[in-house]
Amino acid sequence: MKYKDYYEILGVKRDASDDEIKKAYRKLARKYHPDVSTDPKGEEKFKDVSEAYKTLKDPEARAAYDNLGKHQPGEDFRPPPDWGQGFGAGDFSYEDIDLSDLFAAFGGRRKRGGAIPIPGQDYEVTAPITIEDAFRGTEMELNLSVPEIDAQGRMHRVPQVFKARIPKGVTDGERLRLKGKGGKGMNGGPDGNLYLNIEFRPHPVYRADGHDLYLDLPLSPWEAALGASVDVPTLAGPVRLKVPAGTNTGKKLRLAGRGLPKRGSGEGDLFAIVQIVVPSEPTEREKTLFKDLADASQFDPRAALAEGGGR
């Protein structure tokens, strides 16, 4: 088992008062809590802070922790042979558990007295998927390490590997539940659930808003002015889109039903947002033709500016 210095994590002295510990925890929680913090590493840091606080805020758990002696953080250690006896802590195989398990079971046992059903812990993991995955549905392999009590009543961490079938039609930011895939319940309590936070990976072509998809559709000036038929990629394969003559930048062309499938039935739309682009290095011939156009055209793109310019 690896040692963690809970006092160092909270930034307090070993003889800190309960109040100082609480204050230090609250300060760090505000800084790193994943629901509050914008620190990308916040979640990881908060886990340590929360683990440290859970143990140190409970006077008995803190005494038991102090009893482990001081070690270097990360150092492999075993509690003294008679450790935990005075506190009624459980039996452990010390090799394959986390330090936090020691105190979680400990607090639980102490409070339990009788055999009150304790529901298993809920877990939450981020599931990064592609827009294509959301379009077709996908399977994702999940690797978790969960505490479990064996037949001898000893606690172990066991790897849990399973596949989750993610149905088609999920959207970015959506949460899914895997029932009973969290921590094991004790004394007949229900097993916890595993929650998946769906997160779309950035896509080179599409941007997703719910079930609707957006893409930029670059058009040449002549395609935009004269109208054109252009190929547009969709998740189900390219389709031919008719661009009407006189289409301006920013115009949204809707391809109905070409977005992500919705749960049950129906699907979102795909929007192609027009962007007029010009060749950055025009050929001599292109330059000549543009010049001819400039000489011949009466078109004033800034007519509205001149009217409203406040003269």
């Binding site: 929680a29 399973f162 949460r175 899914l176 539940r177 997703a208 949204k252 749960r263 060749p279």
Partner: protein
């Protein structure tokens, strides 16, 4: 090791959830959820049945926000009053983020123009 496949379920299987289901999904006790309704932070969809909490129905889109404040409650030691404020703010942030995402989707991205 045998790998089993588990179906992931939508948190909101239906459009509405009961108080009992919200207790299960959020981990908050029903008394606290009832208090949040009293404070006006959480609103059942059919107010006329308000007299009987067992018959309340909540829009399933509140599940994620209620789960969030459930976490905040445990980690920050929040009481019901603080929780009701947090719930309203979380809901507001969520709706703003949704709108922000919708607007960002409509902004043109930097396009690489290549000459063919």
């Amino acid at each position: 090791m045998k790998i089993e496949i588990t179906d992931a379920q939508w948190l909101n299987e239906r459009a509405e959830v009961t108080l009992e289901e919200l207790v299960e999904l959020s981990g908050l006790p029903s008394e606290l959820l009832i208090e949040l309704v009293d404070y006006g932070a959480l609103a059942p969809v059919k107010p006329q049945t308000e007299a009987q909490p067992a018959r309340w129905r909540f829009g399933a889109d509140c599940v994620v926000a209620v789960r969030t404040v459930s976490r905040l409650r445990g980690d920050f030691d929040l009481d019901a009053n603080a929780l009701s404020v947090a719930l309203m703010l979380v809901e507001r942030i969520r709706s703003l983020e949704t709108r922000l995402q919708a607007l960002q989707c409509q902004l043109p991205q930097v396009t690489k123009i290549r000459r063919t």
